[in-house]
Structures are given as structure tokens and as C-alpha cells.
Amino acid sequence: MTGYLIRRLGTAIIVVLGIILVTFLMLHIVAPSPAQTVLGPKATPAAISAWNHTNGFDRPWYSQFGTYLNNLLHGNLGWSYKLNQTVDSLFKEKAPLSGFLSLTSLVVAIAVALPLGIFQAVKRNSFGDVSATTLAFVFYSMPVFLVALLLIQVFALSLGWVDANVPQDQSLSGALAHFKDLILPIVALATTAVASYSRYQRSSSLDVLAQDYIKVARAKGLSERLVFSRHLVRNASLPMITLIGLSLPVLIGGNVLIEYAFNINGLGLMFVNALSNDDYNVLMAYTLITAILTVIGNLVADVCLTLSDPRIKLV
């Protein structure tokens, strides 16, 4: 186990270094220097090259990569030339709200998808199973922003239950004061997640139901309820751990679209605005942080899976 952990950690570190290199190279190719952004569209070539020289953007790429890596190790994500603020402080301002959206929708999605998938497997091919599978299939094929538009149309515009405009406060506490208006974004994110999770949950529950230990549990006279709670639920939920570990990039991508659709002042909207503003340090920082969180998520999921499933032997 320890040996496995060390090796797994070693791979993760290599992957993280690779991620940093790839994101840096992408930044370097897509936007070699922010001079134009800083000096404005009418800057003369001489002014641009002077600025590049003063700020070190005329050095070879590996030298610039060294600086980038050094800054990164010191927790310095760069400077947003458009917003005149460090990227760190931008993230500190906006991360709580976006994190809240992601986590809440993830929790809601699991709370719905887990029982739903197990129910579908137990009542296989019943009316409920078929309708749930069909709905899941439709939502699985629907982009998250379309779900958002549908929800706005139905619950905000037609029924008038919630406000179509979400709170513009970028702090979490300010947004939570109007929690009712955050319901639609959370539901939209959770719906698409449920659509894919419940499919996995259903098939993993079906696999478990076909196992011998379920037959044994039934044969020894356990009540169906005990068979389900002790044997089915626990075993069938294991693949969910991996799925959650893998879902982070999807959640973040969903956040970008949802925050744009609802105009929520979080990291996702900041990313879209940074695109239009050519604010590359912000773009790269967000990509990099998401990628590193993904690696950590997968690592944690693997370890959790091993801890909770003694059948998995790591060598």
C-alpha cells in the first residue's frame, strides 16, 4: 500500500509538472506577450518591444518558463493586466461562490443519482425504470446551458417562483442572502450530473445484483431490505467514488457555462470575461488550478476506493 501510494504520488507529480509545462507553452504560443493589452491597441512596435524588454518577455521561452515555475512555486499566479489586480486576489474573491455552486450541485446530484440508480436496477424494466432511463438519456444529450434556459423559462418566467436575475454579489455570504435565486443554477448543474451518474449507478447496481453474494444473502433468508442496505447499496456505490473524482473538469466546465447563463459573478464568468479581454494570466491560472485539482481528485478517489473496497489489492 505504501509503495503503491509513493509510486502513485510520483506519477501525479510528473503529471502536474507536465500540466504546468503544457499550459505555459499554450500561453506562450497563443499570447507571447501581454504588451498589446497593457499599452493599448495604438501602441507602436517600438513601445511594445521596449515594454517586452523591460518585463522580460523577449527572453527565450525556457527562461520565461523558469520564471513562471518559480512564481508558481511561490504561490504567485501572475498579474491581471486588465483588472490591475493579482490573479491570486481575484481567485480569493471569487472562488467561494463558485466552489459553493460546484459542491452543492455535486452533493445534490449524488443524493439524487445514488438512490435513483439503485431503484432503477432493483425495479429493472418497470415503468419507473424506463421513464428514468429515458429522461436521463435526454438530459445526458442536452448541454447544461440549455437546461438552464429551460429552467429559467419554466420556473422564473412562466411560473414566477424565483427571480430570473441571480444576486450580483460576488461574495458567498452576499449571494447566500438570496439563496432562493441560486436554486436554478444549482438544479441545472445537478440535473446534467444526475443524468450521467444515474446511468453508471444503474449499471453498477445491476452488476452487483448478479453477484453470488447477493444470492447467498437471499438464500440465507435475509430480508430484501437488509440485502439492499447491507450488500447492494454499499457495493454498488463504489464506482461512484471514481466518478466523483473524474467529474471535476466537467463541473468546472459546467460552472463556466452556468455562471455565464445566469450572470453569476464567480470564477466561470471571470474566465469568459478574461477571454474577451485577452487576460491570459487569468485564463492560464484557472486552467492550471482546475487541472491540478483534477489530478488530486483522481488520486484521492483512487485512495478512497482502495480504503473502502478490500478486494482491490494494490501492488
Partner: protein, 307 residues
């Protein structure tokens, strides 16, 4: 040594069985069997039906239903259905004609991106799987690294700089989505390369290129083709996301995502005809590809089980 009988180079996955008796039978029925199995799947056929309808609608439709999709008509914007079968959008374009035009872009980019991704992924996976060892490890770490990058964010960054036409967007979407096919093909190749017919080809002096193109890739084709339908669905969804964020193709072209973005701006005005037709079309097409993919996978699986 002279008694070695060169086994036929099986060009289809059905012929990979090592049992000589099986080979003769399965060469005849490999793909046919898969197709027959596929044709029995009603949902998959529904998917094919939807897809055929939309291909005809988008590519043949404009020849039947003529609309002006180049010049804006600002005196005639946001008209409800009745003024044209599906009304007009906020530039005065006929929505039905716009739907056809946007569908062309979405289908073309979806297909192109999926083909690009599949070609890169298949070659990468086959080479990694065949060479094995350190090369394989290094190539697969590259896949791990790229797989950790958030797809939508990376594509947005590159597309907002270089995107805006069908070729560039297809290339961008394809270049960042070959990782899953690479893993799948490598997995297949790892089991194929120890099979007798591959060893035989190698012993007879077949080069690595020949092994890859004549033996390994053709035999991994089932997996690849199943995957490509899902790739298309994902690429169409990704393109829709780009369009929704206003980074789709540029005027005078359009794609379904850009049309949804236009609809989103006008949602609170009650212009439902802007969002529902394009939304339904997008979901139906993506569903069609997913249904076809599921059907193909089941068809391939059944064959595997029978073997």
C-alpha cells in the same frame, strides 16, 4: 520451419479468433452479423432515422426552402411564427432557414472533429501499445497530462484566438479530444499484439508500420467505430458550448450554439421560437448519435460474447 502456414491477415475484428475453424465462418459474417444485430435494435434505428432526417433537413433543405441568410433585415426582426414558418430572429433572418444553416456547421464540425480525434488517437494508441515499455509509458503519461486539462477551458482559450471557421474549430476540437480513443485503442492493441496472427506477421518480417496498419488497427476497428459516434456527439455539444459563449463560427455563418446564445438574450422577451426549435434540434441530433453509439456497442458486444 517450412510447414508454417501464414494465417490470413484478417481485415475485420470478427476474424481474430485463433480457432482455424472459426475464421472461415467469421470472415463471412463479422460485419454482417454486427449490422444484423444493430438492425434489430429499435432504438438504434430510431437514432439512424433522426440522423438521416437532420442530414436531409440541413443539407438538402436549403435547396427546397430558399431563404436569405446573408443580408440582415432589420425592419423584420423577432417576428413570431406566421411570418415564415418559424418566425425571424433578432437580425431578421428566417429561423427555419437559419436552423438548416447552423445545422450544417454543427454536423460538419462534429464529424470532422471526431475524425481528426479518432485518427490521432488510433495512431497514438496503436504505436504506444505495440512498442510498449518506456515509449508506451511516456506516451500514456502525455495522455494523462492532456486528459487532466479541463477540455472546455483549453478549447475556449485556443478557439477564441484561432477559431471562427469550420476548419479551425474542427481542428481545435479534434486536437484536444483524441485522448479517449488513444486509451481505447492502446487497450485493444495490448491484447492483440500477443495473438498468434500478429506474432506470425512479425516472424514473417512484417514491419511495425505494416503490423499497425494491416493487423492491429483493422482489428481494433469495432471499438474505434463505436467510439467515433460518441466523439461526434461530444464535439457537437462542445461546439454548442463555444457558440453559446459567442466563440462559435463568425457571421455570415452560424451554428446551433450561437443561435441558442441569441435566443438566451431574448428569453425574457418571450421569443420562444428562437430557443425551442434549435434546442430541440440540438438535443435530437446528439441523442441520435448516442443512440447509434449504444446500438453499435451492443452489436459489437453481442458478437464478442458469442465468440
Amino acid at each position: 520451419m517450412t510447414t508454417i502456414v501464414p494465417p490470413p491477415a484478417p481485415a475485420d475484428p470478427g476474424a481474430t479468433s485463433t480457432d482455424a475453424g472459426d475464421i472461415a465462418v467469421e470472415i463471412q459474417t463479422g460485419w454482417k452479423l454486427t449490422l444484423r444485430e444493430f438492425a434489430r435494435n429499435k432504438l438504434a434505428l430510431l437514432g439512424v432515422g433522426i440522423l438521416v432526417f437532420f442530414v436531409l433537413f440541413c443539407f438538402v433543405g436549403p435547396f427546397v426552402y430558399h431563404t436569405n441568410q446573408v443580408a440582415t433585415n432589420l425592419l423584420n426582426t423577432d417576428q413570431p411564427p406566421g411570418n415564415g414558418p418559424l418566425g425571424t430572429d433578432s437580425n431578421g433572418f428566417d429561423v427555419l432557414g437559419r436552423l438548416m444553416l447552423g445545422g450544417q456547421t454543427s454536423l460538419e464540425i462534429g464529424l470532422l472533429a471526431a475524425v481528426i480525434a479518432t485518427v490521432i488517437g488510433t495512431l497514438w494508441g496503436a504505436v504506444a501499445g505495440l512498442l510498449g515499455g518506456l515509449v508506451d509509458a511516456a506516451m500514456m503519461r502525455v495522455v494523462d497530462i492532456l486528459l487532466s486539462l479541463p477540455f472546455l477551458l483549453v478549447v475556449l482559450i485556443v478557439a477564441h484566438r484561432y477559431g471562427s471557421n469550420v476548419w479551425n474549430l474542427s481542428l481545435i476540437l479534434g486536437v484536444f479530444s483524441w485522448l479517449v480513443p488513444a486509451r481505447l485503442v492502446r487497450g485493444e492493441v495490448l491484447t492483440l499484439r500477443v495473438r498468434d496472427f500478429v506474432s506470425a506477421a512479425r516472424v514473417m518480417g512484417g514491419s511495425r508500420t505494416r503490423l499497425i496498419f494491416r493487423h492491429l488497427i483493422p482489428n481494433a476497428m469495432g471499438t474505434v467505430i463505436v467510439n467515433i459516434t460518441f466523439q461526434i456527439a461530444d464535439a457537437i455539444l462542445a461546439l454548442a458550448a463555444l457558440g453559446f459563449l459567442n466563440f462559435g463560427v463568425h457571421y455570415p455563418h452560424t451554428d446551433w450554439g450561437s443561435q441558442i446564445a441569441d435566443a438566451a438574450d431574448n428569453l425574457s422577451n418571450g421569443y420562444w421560437w428562437l430557443v425551442f426549435p434549435v434546442g430541440i434540434a440540438l438535443v435530437l441530433v446528439v441523442m441520435a448519435f448516442n443512440l447509434i453509439g449504444d446500438g453499435l456497442r451492443d452489436a459489437v458486444d453481442v458478437r464478442l460474447r458469442k465468440r
